[in-house]
Symmetry: C2
Subunit: 165 residues, 2 copies
């Protein structure tokens, strides 16, 4: 199968995450610049906090950290930044967790298919055309026209499977 585009793979548990963070921030700066939208200081900081790991991050955890840095932070502060970042495809919401993850490829917008490890909490993101086509076909057979799909899969990642042995 050639269509299994992996927008963000599972990383080794011991990897140097700093590189992920730098890469994501660099990509975000570039993408915003290209689009002529503003990655303000606040939005940048929220994106950094979302990218603090490969695990989904809670809005109020972000808020707690923002408050440490600036007392004037409140729920709208973080939700507005998240709204902007989501609109620009830099962050996705994991609906089943009420939490947010950074996107591996914000430069072209897409709908992600998320794999969520029950053990380490890490999230990988796929964008698989076969899956989309099959779902479109199946839904189509019921006369349903798809606008948007939400796919969130829970299970065990390769690294955690190995560690369990």
């Amino acid at each position: 199968m050639s269509t299994n585009r992996v927008l963000m793979p599972f990383k080794e548990h011991g990897h140097s995450h700093k590189k992920c963070l730098i890469s994501a921030m660099t990509m975000a700066e570039k993408t915003c610049c290209t689009r002529g939208v503003k990655l303000t200081k606040l939005r940048r900081r929220v994106l950094e906090l979302v990218w603090s790991s490969h695990e989904p991050v809670k809005a109020y955890d972000i808020l707690d950290k923002l408050r440490d840095e600036h007392s004037g932070s409140a729920p709208p502060t973080v939700y507005r930044a998240l709204d902007f970042l989501r609109a620009e495809g830099m962050v996705h919401k994991i609906e089943s967790l009420n939490a947010y993850v950074g996107c591996g490829e914000p430069e072209h917008s897409h709908i992600g298919q998320f794999l969520i490890c029950r053990d380490c909490g890490a999230v990988a993101e796929m964008d698989d055309a076969d899956v989309r086509e099959l779902l479109a076909e199946k839904a189509g057979s019921l006369g349903f026209h798809i606008d948007r799909e939400l796919i969130e899969i829970k299970g065990l990642c390769a690294a955690c499977s190995t560690e369990h042995r």
Copy 2:
């Protein structure tokens, strides 16, 4: 494709919903009886309220109705009943809406694939083996082992497509 099991199809907009309700309640009584679990008066009433339409129902809307009937109702009243009904597979939660729908085939447990009409709000439920297999294969190619899938698809149902013309 022969695997497209439809657990709950989209119904005609003008259909007599009473039959859906009676059928669902009958099935629930029978299933609970078979399993030796108790469909108490409260749980039955909550299930009826969930089945008041084919649209997902909010917990606090259920609570409002319960309160009309019995002043001692509180959030735990409805969430406990929903927990029971979900555990028995009679109700599913639509995570992207924080709302609950009745299941078309509670007698055997399953994971549903939900189609949600953006126009009329109705929900259909599929349980398609092809989709499950494809996702297992794609996830497997990343070394990921699936426990549970969450699939919620937004779009336009056949009836609403027709009405738009």
